[in-house]
Amino acid sequence: MKKHLELSLGAKKCNMFFLFLPSVMLLAVFFVGPMLLTLYYSFTDISLTGTNAHALKFIGFQNFVEIFKDPKFKTVFRNTMLFLVLSGIVGQQVFGFLLAYLMQRKSRTLRKFVGFTLVVGWITPEIVAAFMFNAFFADKGTLNLIFHFFGVSPVSWLFTFPLVSVIIANIWKGSAYSMMMFQAALDNVSSEIIEAARTDGANGFQVLTKIILPMLKGTMTTTFIIVTLSTLGAFGLIYAMTGGGPGIRTTTLSVYMYQKAFATYQVGYGMAIALIILVVGVLLSLIYVRSTKSQGVR
């Protein structure tokens, strides 16, 4: 006969508390702690060197006021939004979804090949991808070589179209995630519903928009949020490809934050920018969640 340990409710709760403790502590130390420190330091003038390195002063909202008065901030914010929308939302997700949708009923070999190619991009370390695209878009790089072959004059991609180059690199890098998420979600769409809709006379497009997409709302929200947050924080790829340049043409909020904190040593200012990135991310996530809820998802 098996012995069952009948724990009282209190004991159960105690058990739960101790079992959760290690993870909660890890989260507190590595997540909440730094966030609170960032919040605190963004209200000071702490810098990496000089007198403010140890004699920092509390300056209230001055960092934030400075940020909004900074003439570069508008361009940096615009770059960030363009990068986010074009490479994250439109690029990775639409591209990922289209691939997943089109791959649905194709042969296994094709699915494997496409899947593999995209995943290779995803698992490639950022720096490697950055150098790869640097070589691809360089003045004497692969793309210009192809152009030359077709008799088209070369373009200085990283100088004339830096944001486009960086966006393309990011789409290549991240689409795999969206594709895999949508693949899994599409596999869960029961074929019976689709057949029923077809018998009712719906064409392919109507099936897609009226049946499939609504059923994918949950997945869409999740991928939207995850892709947005990771694209907002994208740093390595852009920094290694263009350094944020030329000028500030590819400087996004995260690159700007790095430059302010580590190139000009104004750590407090950099932290204020970090906080802004966080706020933007949270706001966008809330918007996504609200918009999907308001459309009456069951």
Partner: protein, 457 residues
């Protein structure tokens, strides 16, 4: 039973994972641990000189049996300075002695990262050999000596004597005004039709922040007139001199945009330019003039990375003139590196001992001969082997020293220098006209240091 065991095991594993966050501070260390630390000296050195310092480390270890010298390489890229400062912030990463770029001394000393060397130098006979003016480069804002000068240098115009002769420009090249430089560049451009040829290489990119700020912007700025200053030491204010700024920006504009005798902005922004120029472009007639430091030829010496016996037969080093030849006639910037002891070093005695060793006369002489940098010790400066070096422009450089200006490395310089780079780059990439750059300069400087710390002329 198995489930419960698994549960307990996983919990324990999670807790052990926390041990990975353990802080390996020396507080509460045992006696034997302290003894071990005293036997290791960590030396942080700029990548350019790491091979030489490794040799010195071996020599030191041979004399001091039982001591190990660990050489830490500081990679020379645009993040070098912030990395160095961050290294010195914690006891775990701070070396015991480190090479510190001269212009960072004041800021890092004010930040509390450097140990004062007053006592060390007082008890060291050889410290008297260091020229007082050069020692200024290692002092903090409070006048305390925080770093010992290791080298100094000057900026000039490297020019290809052969290509000049072929283009019909008289050699030796002795420009008396900025227009002379532009004229020579234009002649080169007309005479050389190879694709990708750079008549005049002028640093103007964020990829090379301090190079652009110091070698291009500040060198030219101090050549606009005797009264040119970037920082008013008496009033303790940063200066915005619109006329002089316009002069500098207009020159950069001429080079990059109007006359197009400079590199293409995308070429200027790629990494590893110095190596590319020394190993390829300067050897293969792909560049005509190069505004840079006196050490550029040192890598052509025997046994160095880009050995080229004909280096100084082909290339000459000219003084940079003031804008229209006004007094004093020439301008240059003197940089300079130093050795410092981080205040958070674990083995300060070891660091100090190694410092004295590596800065003694023989080693300083060796260093100067190896790197092509200018000496800072009087006894080295007068040494015959120093004066008769093969692949160094010592004679020309010594002549330039009297016209040298120094970076205003006061508190806030680390920010302001990025402004100098940004404005210069904006002209080169065509994002701003000289007039716009001057306006940006004024508004950004005011934003950075505050209105009460800026004086506008």
């Amino acid at each position: 039973m198995l489930k419960r065991f698994l549960g307990v095991f996983l919990c324990a594993a999670m807790v052990f994972a926390l041990a990975g966050c353990a802080n390996t501070t020396k507080s509460g260390s045992t006696q034997s641990q302290t003894e071990d630390e005293n036997k290791v000296i960590k030396v942080g050195v700029l990548a350019n000189w790491v091979d030489w310092v490794k040799e010195k480390a071996k020599a030191y270890e041979a004399v001091h049996k039982g001591t190990k010298v660990e050489v830490i390489e500081l990679v020379n890229n645009s993040d070098l300075y912030s990395k160095t400062t961050m290294m010195m912030q914690s006891e775990q990463t701070a070396p015991d002695v480190i090479t510190e770029d001269g212009f960072m001394v004041k800021a890092d000393a004010a930040g509390g990262y450097l140990m004062p060397l007053t006592d060390v130098l007082a008890g060291w006979e050889e410290s008297k050999q260091f020229a007082p003016t050069i020692m200024e480069g290692g002092k903090g804002v409070d006048g305390v000596q925080y770093a010992l000068p290791l080298s100094t240098d000057v900026q000039g115009i490297w020019y290809n004597k052969q290509m000049f002769a072929e283009a019909g420009i008289s050699v030796p090249f002795e420009p008396k005004s900025w227009n002379d430089i532009l004229a020579a560049a234009k002649k080169l451009k007309a005479a050389v039709t190879t694709d990708g040829f750079v008549p005049l290489y002028l640093y103007a990119s964020k990829t090379y922040p301090e190079e652009t700020s110091m070698r291009t912007f500040q060198t030219l700025y101090f050549g606009t007139g005797e009264d040119a200053e970037l920082y008013d030491m008496n009033a303790e204010k940063w200066v915005v001199d619109k006329e002089k700024l316009l002069d500098v920006f207009r020159f950069v504009d001429s080079v990059y945009n109007t006359e197009k005798v400079g590199p293409t902005p995308s070429f200027a922004a790629q990494s590893g330019i110095a190596d590319l120029l020394q190993s390829d472009y300067m050897k293969n007639k792909k560049v005509g003039m190069y505004l840079s430091g006196s050490w550029e030829s040192s890598n052509w010496a025997k046994g160095k990375s880009h050995e080229w016996a004909d280096g100084l037969k082909v290339w000459g080093f000219a003084k940079i003139p003031t804008k229209d030849g006004e007094t004093p006639g020439y301008t240059t910037m003197s940089g300079g590196w130093t050795w410092a002891i981080p205040s958070k070093a674990n083995n300060k005695e070891g660091g100090i001992d190694f410092l004295k060793f590596v800065c003694n006369k023989d080693n300083q002489l060796e260093y100067a001969l190896q790197t092509g940098n200018l000496a800072v010790r009087n006894d080295v400066m007068n040494d015959s082997s120093y004066l008769s070096q093969e692949m160094a422009v010592t004679k020309e450089s010594n002549e330039m020293l009297q016209y040298a200006h120094f970076r205003p490395s006061v508190d806030g310089y680390s920010q302001v220098t990025t402004l100098y780079t940004d404005c210069t780059e904006s002209i080169a990439i065509g994002a701003a006209t000289p007039e716009q750059a001057v306006d940006t300069f004024q508004s950004e400087l005011t934003r950075m240091v505050g209105e009460d710390k800026v004086t506008v002329k």
